[in-house]
């Protein structure tokens, strides 16, 4: 980068930092509350509805040794500024266009507040069609919400995560990459607990983070169908990426098929099962594989269940995912079998009094054994996370949360993390 470019970036980042700071500073101010909308903005006789979200999360520990909460190399889920706007444009009674623009950035508060918001990104943009007016059947096409699991969609509304951290399955970076693969089992075992920046000898040499089981921070592109309402809902989708690696542009010529069935046997109870299968490894990797390596289905396959029960002041949720990735078997010691990751999370929330709630989540992420040249170990380091805290509604659409999170990991430079976090979140 030349000097002019650096100066420009510094100025621009300062401007963006102060803009974000000014917005966030407005949030807790009662006088400012009069200027901020309390409900979505409705235009053109209700045909256009615009909503928004702003949140600021800060934590006591930068987590730069363990990278437990990073969503990529730069962004920490516990130290983040997020600004987003959603829109629903109704082109008819059975036709809508939905979208979300969002920008995220690091929020650091060491000696002075720093916020380097990234460029605006189009997180969602799709068309929704209901072909028959009298049937609960919808088709959505574009950059669409994932049908698999529950958390990724639920969290998208911005207000349905009672804590600040994310479930491990949706955020924790494993050491797998779709654009680079290990040549041997030893290569992969050397990357245990280095999901924030794994590097392998085949494929891209760029500094890229590993993949989570399923990302809650990006959506895939394709077509999705949804049928039914309570008590039974069925959804299916065909997309360009996979749960771990959603894409706008296809990188391997294959499509992921995903489906979910949700059953509502009683009011307040939802039981769901999900499945997904799609090619994971990028074509740029398979092209450079030695010719004697069998070209198999280098895919990600996942199965999941989710459950939610609520009654009175209680809300309990649980979600489990088993994911398998098949990688090329290049050199000995070979990665002969699919690499499996299993996650389970249990989350509870209780309203203590009007406007005040407590919440907690237990999370575990484990991996299958992989024989190396000297020992057999789990191919990535298993992680356990406990997070507990509470939230207070300053206003109906302004929440202040405080949580304490502890992580344990059987590997890596930092094997545990204790961190307090705070978050302010505003929405309309």
């Amino acid at each position: 980068m030349n000097a002019d470019g650096g100066a420009y970036n510094r100025i621009f980042m300062t401007f963006r930092s102060w803009s974000a700071l000014a917005l966030v500073a407005l949030l807790p101010c009662p006088a400012g509350g009069q200027a901020l909308p309390s409900e979505p903005i409705s235009l053109v006789g209700g045909r256009v509805t615009i909503g928004g979200e702003a949140s600021l999360s800060l934590s006591t520990n930068p987590d730069e040794a363990g990278w437990f909460n990073y969503t990529d190399y730069k962004r920490n889920a516990l130290r983040m500024v997020r600004l987003g706007a959603t829109a629903d444009v109704r082109l008819g009674s059975r036709l809508s266009v939905l979208g979300e623009l969002r920008t995220e950035g690091r929020a650091l508060c060491d000696r002075r507040f720093v916020c380097d918001l990234q460029r605006l990104e189009l997180y969602a943009l799709y068309i929704r069609v209901r072909p028959w007016a009298d049937r609960a059947f919808d088709i959505q096409a574009g950059r669409i919400p994932p049908v698999f699991g529950a958390f990724a969609r639920r969290n998208y509304s911005g207000t349905d995560n009672p804590l600040i951290g994310y479930p491990l399955a949706y955020q924790y970076l494993t050491s797998l990459r779709s654009d680079a693969v290990p040549a041997t089992a030893d290569d992969l075992l050397r990357m245990r607990a280095r999901g924030w920046r794994p590097s392998f000898s085949i494929g891209s040499t760029a500094d890229t983070p590993g993949s989570p089981i399923m990302t809650a921070f990006r959506w895939d592109t394709g077509v999705q169908m949804h049928w039914g309402s309570e008590p039974l809902e069925v959804s299916g989708s065909v997309t360009t990426g996979t749960l771990s690696e959603p894409h706008v542009q296809d990188n391997n010529g294959g499509k992921q098929i995903a489906a979910r069935v949700a059953w509502h046997p009683a009011v307040g109870l939802v039981l769901g099962v999900s499945g997904a299968h799609g090619p994971y490894v990028a074509a740029s990797v398979t092209r450079v594989l030695p010719p004697d390596v069998p070209r198999a289905d280098f895919s990600q396959q996942a199965f999941g269940f989710d459950a939610e029960y609520s009654r009175g002041y209680w809300l309990v949720r649980s979600e489990g995912i088993i994911s398998e990735w098949r990688l090329p078997a290049v050199r000995a010691p070979l990665i002969r079998h699919a690499l499996r990751a299993s996650s389970i999370s249990v989350e509870g929330q209780y309203k203590i009094r009007p406007g005040l709630f407590g919440a907690g989540r237990y999370d575990y992420l484990g991996f299958s054994n992989l024989p190396g040249s000297t020992e057999t170990r789990q191919w990535d380091a298993p992680v356990t996370r406990l997070e507990a805290g509470g939230g207070y509604y300053v206003m109906r659409n302004l929440i202040a949360k405080v949580t304490y999170q502890h992580d344990w990991r059987d590997g890596g430079r930092a094997r545990s993390l204790s961190v307090w976090s705070g978050q302010l979140q505003f929405w309309f």
Binding site: P40, G45, T49, P145, Y156, S157, G355, Y393, M395, W427
Partner: protein, 238 residues
């Protein structure tokens, strides 16, 4: 005898009724009114409120995370208004019959959208939908949270303090309503045609307030003569 003045103060998108003690002039005025009331000479203040201000539709937050079209919901009647006396005769505060009212949750809408009650009354919140609702309020006048409950169930809330209580559903963000709690009986909610009537008002000088959709929209000074009768008072809210 304890006298109260009922006035509305709009603050930070939520309104609250405050009740400071009366001054000397106010006390004399209400004392005179008390005598008139006991002698049976009263009037009714009635009229019509025409709401001409544009009332936008209540829409759900855009939720790109949904897998299909959201369920359609009814629209609240945001033209319903409440007319009340800013200050009331002293005797009005002594009579406090325990009343009961109802605000139903139907098709993801509170019905009615505006409920005016006496302090001490209990409001039932029945759920007539097939999904959970969670009625709550964070208003300074009364904070409550009824938790999640299913169709066919109802939970009550007793409102003891005068003021405006903004009611929401914790599950459906587009659901909201108002409960106006008065410490006297001199108020009325408009009918669908906009008509209202505040009966049996003792002679005296009053300020009549027209409230609509979260704010005081208009106010008028009215004098009820000693001989009583009917006073016509129309409002146009733009």
């Amino acid at each position: 005898m304890r006298h109260r003045l009922l006035s509305l103060v709009i603050c930070s998108a939520q309104a609250a009724i405050v009740a400071p003690p009366l001054g000397v002039a106010g006390a004399m005025s209400t004392a005179a009114s008390s005598q008139a009331q006991t002698s049976g000479r009263v009037a009714s203040i009635r009229g019509r409120i025409e709401v001409l201000r544009s009332v936008s539709l209540v829409e759900s937050r855009p939720s790109p995370g949904d897998l299909g079209m959201p369920r359609p919901h009814d629209q609240p009647d945001r033209t319903t208004s409440v007319v009340y006396l800013e200050s009331a005769p002293a005797a009005a505060f002594e009579d406090r019959p325990a009343g009961r009212a109802q605000m139903t949750q139907r098709n993801e809408t509170f019905v009615p959208h505006v409920l005016a009650i006496r302090a001490g009354a209990t409001v039932d919140f029945p759920n007539e939908d097939h999904t959970y609702h969670n009625v709550f309020s964070l208003s300074k006048t009364q904070r409550f949270d009824l938790g999640r409950y299913a169709a066919g169930q109802s939970k009550p809330v007793r409102f003891d303090r005068p003021g405006i209580v903004r009611v929401f559903c914790d599950i459906h963000s587009h659901m909201s309503a108002f409960v106006l709690v008065f410490s006297h009986r001199f108020f009325d909610t408009t009918e669908p045609d906009g008509r209202y009537e505040i009966p049996a008002v003792p002679p005296g000088k009053y300020t009549v307030i027209a409230w609509n959709d979260g704010a005081v929209r208009d106010s008028r000074a009215v004098t009820v003569p000693e001989q009583g009768g009917a006073i016509e008072l129309d409002f146009v809210i733009r």
